[in-house]
């Protein structure tokens, strides 16, 4: 299949480095992508993959190293330059203009022009329809981008890239939110683009996809290049070892804790369009893992339980008492703590000081005669920051410049300070380094040992399998499986997570 008429690398990066202030994102990254090839770029969260592709895209400029595109040295100062040179990037989060039509989103800035340099709408719609036909999808080219599902937004991004006639297409975790069928469709397009002699970079955390789609794989770790191999010459285990840089087993220091009474009891929770009929319990001393694909509704269930989102039906009880709906403060009072998925947007106020963040939830209890002073906050925050070994010079430092791991410690400190009965923790180790990761895991295990009930949501299968006493699998808004720790395997969890997709197919779940 592969036509070698454009043999040779289309993209060559050598020893690229990049820092943001005090934070080093890339030390020495290298990547060489051949034309007519699909190249996987893998590494843990925080390994520097996203920064690397943003350098290629012209979003950031590298601090050092070489950057060659189609055989020539380049140095893009803007996204327009890299796009003009023939590089298309599909980011993790699609970047569409919600108010504009799907077609305009594809052609913005380079719309086909008719007479008098006016935009030729007819030609544009025809071209958009042709693109969608080629991708095998049906989206009204005239509808606005607002309200499209992530999968459809991704399709628009791909259509954009194809219409650019790019020599290099970079896809940053494009499959994270896609169902099996949608992934297949995407792969078919990717292969056809490869066969046309283009170079593709595919970033994914799913090994089976890497092995199915790609021909070469480059591993990154801690902002540095580790290795490049032909897919045929390597195995999942070898890649994982290279990504992590150590044995996987000692990552999860889970100790068995005594399981006590029911702490959280969720019955028949439903929210229209998000999740349906969710019932489960979490007991004291137990870590319950909530697994499933991104977008399956795991985080949404957690958010509804805690009360930041509304739900339509069902009930939430904590220690036998009903927790009122959509009232986070009541949930906190009842003994819930919630470490959300997106640290910077939801978990903490990055521009506020460490002390204010850590004392953020308990501050109502720190008042004297109704008044709250900075001194009281500092006094209350210091021990919790110390217990979690938050690294900071002083308590009035902002969290803005902190590393992800350190920020996560601040968030956890803030919630442990409330002395909760139930800890809901969404993606506990996303975007934090390996060392802090195992610190967090040890902490979770210790907390469970002390009788805390923990509901843990994670997209990393090893984390779920390593940490959870019990795994609940969510698929398309419903809990499709409950698997005990000793029975849980990557296969049966993944099967349950994709179950509804492969089995219900076209039929509508009731």
């Amino acid at each position: 299949m592969t036509q070698a008429h454009q043999a040779g690398p289309v993209l060559e990066l050598g020893d690229v480095s990049k820092s943001f202030g005090a934070v080093t994102a890339l030390r020495s990254a290298s990547l060489s992508v051949d034309a007519g090839s699909i190249h996987a770029l893998i590494g843990e969260n925080g390994a520097g993959k996203s920064t690397l592709i943003k350098i290629v895209a012209g979003v950031h400029r590298r601090d050092g190293g070489t950057f060659r595109f189609q055989g020539a040295d380049v140095d893009f100062t803007s996204t327009a330059e890299s796009k003009g040179a023939g590089i298309a990037v599909i980011y993790q989060e699609p970047t569409l203009f919600p108010d504009l039509s799907v077609t305009e989103n594809i052609f913005m800035g380079r719309q086909p022009l008719g007479r008098g340099r006016r935009i030729d709408y007819a030609a544009m719609y025809t071209e958009a329809e042709a693109l969608f036909a080629r991708l095998g999808v049906y989206i009204d080219p005239r509808r606005p981008a607002r309200g499209l599902s992530i999968a459809d937004q991704q399709i628009i991004e791909i259509a954009k890239a194809i219409s650019l006639d790019a020599a290099l297409l970079i896809m940053d975790e494009p499959t994270a939110a896609l169902s099996g069928v949608e992934v297949e469709r995407l792969f078919a397009v990717a292969r056809s683009l490869r066969d046309e002699g283009r170079g593709l970079v595919f970033i994914s955390h799913r090994f089976e996809e890497v092995f199915e789609l790609c021909d070469t794989v480059t591993v990154m770790r801690d902002g540095s290049y580790v290795s490049t191999k032909k897919i045929a010459d390597t195995t999942v285990d070898a890649l994982v070892a290279e990504m992590v840089g150590r044995e996987v087993a000692d990552l999860f220091p889970k100790t068995v804790a005594e399981v006590g009474d029911v702490v959280l009891d969720v019955q028949g929770l439903s929210s229209v369009g998000v999740f349906r009929d969710v019932s489960f319990q979490v007991r004291a001393g137990e870590i319950v893992g909530l697994a499933g694909l991104v977008g399956a509704g795991r985080s949404e269930i957690a958010r509804a339980v805690f009360g930041v989102d509304k739900y339509d039906e069902g009930s939430v009880e904590l220690l036998g008492k009903k927790v009122p709906a959509s009232n986070p403060r009541a949930a906190i009072k009842a003994g819930m703590a919630f470490v959300p998925e997106d640290r910077r947007k939801q978990g903490l106020v990055t521009e506020a000081s460490v002390a204010r963040n850590v004392a953020g939830v308990i501050r109502r209890g720190l008042t004297t005669a109704g008044l709250l002073t900075g001194r009281a906050e500092n006094r209350a925050a210091a021990p919790w920051a110390g217990r979690l070994e938050v690294k900071t010079n002083a308590l009035d430092m902002h969290a803005t410049t902190m590393s992800g791991g350190n920020q996560q410690k601040v968030v956890i400190a803030k919630w442990l300070a409330t002395e909760p009965k139930l800890l809901i923790i969404d993606e506990p180790t996303r975007g934090i380094d390996v060392g802090t990761k195992s610190e967090v895991h040890r902490l979770l295990s210790d907390l469970a040992g002390q009788g805390l009930a923990i509901l843990m949501i994670s997209s990393e299968l090893p984390e779920v399998l390593g940490m959870a006493d019990r795994v609940l699998v969510v698929c398309e808004g419903r809990i499709t499986a409950e698997i005990a720790r000793e029975d849980a395997t990557p296969e049966n969890v993944m099967f349950a997570a994709t179950n509804a997709v492969t089995h219900t197919g076209s039929e509508v779940p009731a």
Binding site: Y138, G147, V181, A188
Partner: protein, 386 residues
């Protein structure tokens, strides 16, 4: 617009255009406007058919239409220009001054006014686009500065009707084929800007920038240059409005243009321009301006003290944004419902798409919860506008 027709419709272009038109905000405002004129005319037919009635109906809104068109271009990029009233005052005075002090031909004076406005707009644009500071604050500051400059320059002077050449003042009263010249000027500007926003790449990029500024950067659009251009246009049109005001009233007093900036914003909002950018048309804004001005004149005829006029305007503005909100949430609910029930899902279907992709019949794409798709807009919008 097309909240239910997610797949390419089999409708003919004519039917589609008609449908879009029927659902448009512009038509709604136009209907209200026509009803208002009709009711007022029934009450007193001189409102429309009187000797000056027809002329005033068309002539009075011309100034606000110019401002609303410029304001729309700025608001669409998620900015705002509060300095237009002061710019208008300054250029109106400049116009008079040039007639008093020089013997420049009328056309040169008009151009000088427009140029002056453009320069003042450029100052705004430079401060906003390069300083990366919120337009609301910058233009609030330049509103004071321009107003102060105007008043300092004018001192206790006042430009009177006798200071301006008759030919210039005639522009403010004369008509061609029953349509006042100033109205023709406003409509020509409206049509040119409206046509540009719809059919030029630059125009569409203004919408893209306002719809998601971060995405526009990632996209490689020339954000700084476009925002600069929008402010220059807004300033130039305020300058033109200043000239128009001098011609129409024949005098320039120190209070000319005071408070009109908020009316221009109000006209745009009533006409369906989203205050956080990305959507709305100059047609709507112009109709909004027309409606605002006409209400002003119609109330006394309808037997309501014109002191209530401002209250009616307030109700209109609040009503317009509440209505927008209701429509948007209804559309969102419809989209969620559409995803809940597989068959209507957007990206799937059967037939077509030969060589490349395996065709799979109707897969529900419904594991994507409704609110996540909105992640690009709602939370981000709040900050950037100011």
């Amino acid at each position: 617009m097309s909240d239910t027709t997610l797949r390419p419709s089999a409708e003919s272009p004519v039917a589609r255009t008609l449908k879009t038109l029927l659902r448009s905000r512009e038509l709604a405002v136009a209907i209200v406007l026509v009803l208002l004129i009709a009711v007022t005319t029934i009450k007193s037919d001189s409102f429309l058919f009187g000797a000056t009635g027809w002329r005033d109906l068309l002539l009075t809104p011309s100034m606000l239409i110019l401002l609303a068109v410029g304001q729309t271009c700025v608001i669409v990029t998620r900015n705002v220009d509060l300095s237009v009233g002061s710019t208008l005052g300054l250029t109106a005075y400049l116009t008079g001054r040039l007639f008093v002090d020089t013997s420049l031909p009328i056309i040169a004076v008009v151009l000088a006014g427009v140029l002056m406005g453009a320069v003042l707009g450029l100052v705004n644009g430079i401060l906003v686009a390069f300083g990366r500071v919120p337009a609301l604050v910058i233009t609030l500051g330049t509103m004071y500065i321009y107003r102060g400059a105007f008043l300092t320059w004018a001192g206790s002077d006042r430009i009177n009707a006798s200071d301006m050449p008759a030919a210039f003042k005639d522009l403010g009263t004369e008509s061609i084929l029953g349509i006042p010249i100033l109205t023709i000027v406003a409509v020509v500007v409206l049509v040119i800007v409206g046509y540009y926003l719809r059919t030029a790449r630059g125009g569409r990029e203004l919408y893209a920038i306002g719809s998601d500024p971060d995405a526009a950067e990632l996209y490689g659009l020339k954000v700084t240059r476009r925002i600069l251009a929008a402010f220059v246009l807004s300033g130039a049109l305020a300058g033109l409005a200043g000239v128009v005001s001098a011609a129409r009233f024949g005098t320039v007093s120190s209070s000319v243009g005071q408070g009109i900036e908020l009316e221009a914003v109000a006209a745009a909002v009533i006409g369906g321009v989203a205050i956080f950018g990305g959507s709305g048309t100059v047609w709507g804004a112009a109709l909004g301006a027309f409606l605002l001005v006409t209400i002003n004149r119609a109330l006394p005829v309808l037997g309501i003290s014109d002191f209530w006029q401002q209250a009616v305007v307030g109700v209109l503005i609040v009503g317009a944004i509440v209505l927008d909100r209701v429509l948007v949430s209804r559309q969102e609910r419809a989209l969620i419902a559409a995803r809940e029930h597989g068959p209507d899902t957007p990206s799937t279907g059967s037939g077509g798409g030969p060589a490349l992709a395996p065709i799979v019949p109707g897969t529900p794409a419904d594991h994507e919860p409704g609110h996540e798709t909105g992640t690009t807009d709602p939370s981000d919008t709040e900050e950037v506008v100011r």
